[in-house]
């Protein structure tokens, strides 16, 4: 059915174009650069008209269009200086620069139709944190091909690590190390958040190994079920950990969660010499900006590690296991150890992201660690494209944006245009609360992606091939017959 729809669309498309004298053959004869330029300009033109007609127009829309043309059209990949392919770095570097500068221009952006204004800074922080978690899950799901339905356990572990080592949770202790702006008489562990991030990563990786060792022997569906179980156990421990094993030892402060958690900061010495913020929480309305840049830096580190590991001996072993476990073992890849490394690496980044988010939110609360978060992160990986770093980041940013702002904006647009304030007011009396249907909508997105583009929106070429041609589950040639 998918193919038939595609054919119909393409036939209609060319029929329309032949009116202006453009036939497929003439199109093919155009140089590649011209074709790309025409397609990009066409799409942007449609976009600009939509913004102008249905959104809120600002002149910056033209600047956005110009930047997109500059990024997409010229063949940077072919650029090289004395044989070094510097060209491949131009687009990522430009995208990074655009992201870094985002706080300076996000309020002067035009409003898109349906989606409304560009995301706020707090949403951008969330996008960074979830991009990191999705990249962490990508080690397990995308690279090693193991289905993990309990990733939220690592997020929770990271958050609680921040709760234990950067708050007054353990009031009998009084240990501080590098924490900024502590009031005199503060009790509990107070380590510098940067140290806590690392500690959270390591502790979570250890939890990952502990969970992994007994479970990774299982295959496919069984592994998914067991990880699901662990994903349920962790928040239960968090919820009921205010009197651990009935001893009265308050580990997690129960349903109240641990709050407040210290904010990050570089301290007054570094502030004095390098102008780095001494304490993010004292920055006032610029705090989100600092949190966003820090999240961006953490995401960059994660991207770096993802890329390096993917192209290493270990990464090859992960992909080999994903493709054919038996053959990988026969080629000398130790299955258990290699899978456990994937699990631990994924857990590490989940833990760091969790700790950072806890510091940003100022607390770790058990309500945040439900099963739906596991599915949410998994959706990001699947929607974006398993195994592809850029795809996963895109999936994470898009879904987190929908979760934080997008759906509410869409709802407001729907209600305003058609609902109680719009054209269908007679039958549509009550405003529709779109964010309420969030997981239904995500589920629908997932089903649509699985039906029409199982490899995700921006897939790795290898993963795309696996989805369309299949992996070696069945013998390809049965030579004994």
């Amino acid at each position: 059915m998918r193919r038939r729809i595609g054919e119909a669309v393409s036939r209609a498309w060319w029929a329309a174009l032949s009116v202006v004298g453009l036939t497929p053959r003439r199109w093919e004869r155009l140089p590649r650069l011209a074709r790309r330029a025409i397609v990009t300009v066409l799409w942007l033109g449609i976009g600009l008209v939509l913004v102008w007609k249905f959104g809120v127009w600002k002149t910056s829309a033209l600047a956005v269009a110009a930047v997109v043309v500059l990024l997409v059209v010229p063949p940077y990949r072919r650029l090289g200086v004395r044989g070094t392919p510097v060209g491949a770095w131009i687009v990522p570097a430009a995208v990074l620069a655009i992201a870094v500068a985002y706080p300076y221009y996000n309020t002067s952006m035009p409003q898109l139709p349906i989606f409304g204004p560009f995301p706020q800074m707090s949403t951008m922080v969330g996008m960074g944190v979830f991009a990191m978690m999705a990249l962490g899950l990508n080690f397990v799901v995308g690279y090693a091909g193991l289905l993990d339905l309990g990733y939220v356990a690592f997020y929770a572990m990271g958050s609680y690590m921040a709760g234990w080592f950067a708050s007054s949770q353990f009031a009998k202790q009084n240990v501080s190390f590098g924490a900024v702006d502590l009031l005199p008489g503060t009790t509990g562990f107070h380590f510098s958040i940067w140290l806590v991030l690392l500690m959270a990563g390591i502790a979570t990786a250890i939890i990952g190994v502990l969970i992994g060792l007994p479970t990774l022997r299982l295959r496919g569906d069984y592994l998914a079920i067991v990880t699901l179980g662990f994903g349920e156990i962790m928040p239960q421990i968090a919820r009921n950990g205010d009197s651990l094993f009935g001893t009265g030892f308050n580990l997690t402060n129960g349903t109240g969660g641990i709050t407040p958690i210290d904010g990050p900061g570089f301290g007054h010495t570094l502030h004095h010499y390098l102008r780095l913020p001494a304490n993010y929480l004292n920055l006032g309305e610029n705090a989100d900006r600092a949190f966003f840049w820090t999240a961006l830096a953490l995401v960059l580190v994660t991207i770096f590690c993802s890329a390096r590991l993917r192209d290493s001996r270990l990464g090859r072993a992960w992909i080999a296991i994903r493709e054919d476990e038996v053959a990988a073992a026969a080629m000398g890849v130790p299955l258990m150890r290699t899978k456990t490394w994937a699990y631990a690496t994924g857990a590490f980044f989940g833990g760091v992201a969790g700790a950072y988010y806890a510091s940003y939110n100022g607390g770790a609360f058990p309500d945040e660690f439900f099963f739906n978060i596991s599915v949410f992160i998994l959706c990001m990986v699947i929607l974006g494209g398993m195994g592809n770093i850029w795809g996963v980041i895109f999936g994470a940013c898009f879904l987190e944006y929908l979760d934080r702002e997008g759906l509410a904006n869409i709802g407001a647009w729907l209600n305003g245009r058609f609902g109680p304030g719009g054209s269908l007011a007679e039958v549509w009396h009550k405003p529709l609360d779109v964010p309420l249907y969030e997981f239904g909508i995500f589920g629908a997105i997932l089903v649509i992606v699985m039906l029409f583009r199982p490899e995700g929106l921006i897939p790795s070429s290898r993963r795309a091939a696996e989805f369309h041609e299949g992996v070696h589950d069945q013998p390809l040639y049965d030579a004994s017959a």
Binding site: R313, G315, I319, A329, R463, V471, P475
Partner: protein
């Protein structure tokens, strides 16, 4: 030769009530080519899978280079020096030929997670060396210029060759080939037979073959072992096996012999 490279004693595998391999004693001396033949379903591949740790034997032991390997996981066998190919080609189909061979080198490389992230000079050197050796291996196996070809896109014969190259990348002392010439035309089969002989000659490898093509078996083997219903029914030089009464019965049925 004093001590055989590979030795099994009373190796047995049962699947439920079915005895797939029935107490087989078996040896492969160093630098020899041994063939394992038998009718379909005789338990040859099951036997193979026990020699590589894919199956754990129900009873009996596997010794390799004097070491008891029984019950070890597959990668230990590879580490000790047993490389194998599969009856139904099992390449990493969406990886390039070069990457396939590099996975085969996994046990011979050392770079760990942290070194991979930092990309230390040692890892750089190791990776560069591995890539160079992988290219050489591909060329040696007759896949020159196909380094970047995706596994699935290779022709059938090339896929077989790549499987052997990948197995060789593990630097085996003993190479296990499971029906390597299945589906090959006579010319390819002849080339492959010569290639196996060359492996023994130049690399000093011992080779254990499962094979149906009798020209290959008789042409290249030092010794032939025959399995039937999981039992070893004959063992010896190729010429002797050809005349063995039980072997003829197993292949052609008792009726063919008695009448």
């Amino acid at each position: 030769m004093a001590e055989p490279l590979l030795l099994t004693t009373g190796l047995r595998k049962e699947f439920g009530g079915l005895v797939a391999v029935d107490d087989v004693d078996f040896t492969v001396p160093e630098e020899s080519i041994v063939s394992l033949i038998g009718p379909n379903g005789a338990g040859k591949t099951t036997f193979f899978n026990m020699l590589t740790g894919v199956y754990k034997p129900t009873a009996g032991q596997v010794f390799f280079a004097g070491e008891d390997m029984t019950g070890r996981p597959p990668h230990r066998f590879t580490q000790r020096g047993i490389g194998r190919t599969f009856q139904n080609i099992r390449l990493f189909q969406n990886m390039t030929a070069l990457e396939n061979v590099l996975v085969g080198m996994h046990v011979r490389l050392k770079g760990n997670l942290f070194e991979a992230i930092v990309r230390t000079p040692r890892v750089r050197r190791e990776e560069a060396g591995a890539r160079k050796r992988a290219r050489e291996l591909l060329e040696f196996s007759g896949l020159r210029g196909k380094d970047e070809e995706i596994g699935r896109n290779l022709s059938y014969g090339d896929q077989r060759r790549l499987e052997v190259a990948r197995a060789l990348a593990t630097q085996p002392k003993l190479l296990l080939l499971d029906e390597p010439t299945a589906g090959m035309n006579p010319q390819e089969t002849a080339d492959f037979t010569a290639f196996v002989a060359r492996l023994r000659g130049e690399e000093g490898l011992a080779v254990l073959l499962i094979e149906h093509d009798m020209r290959v078996v008789m042409g290249v083997s030092d010794r032939v072992t025959v399995l039937d219903y999981g039992e070893k029914i004959a063992e010896g030089a190729p010429e002797a096996i050809q005349k063995d009464q039980r072997v003829i019965e197993a292949y052609l049925g008792t009726a063919a012999v008695t009448t």
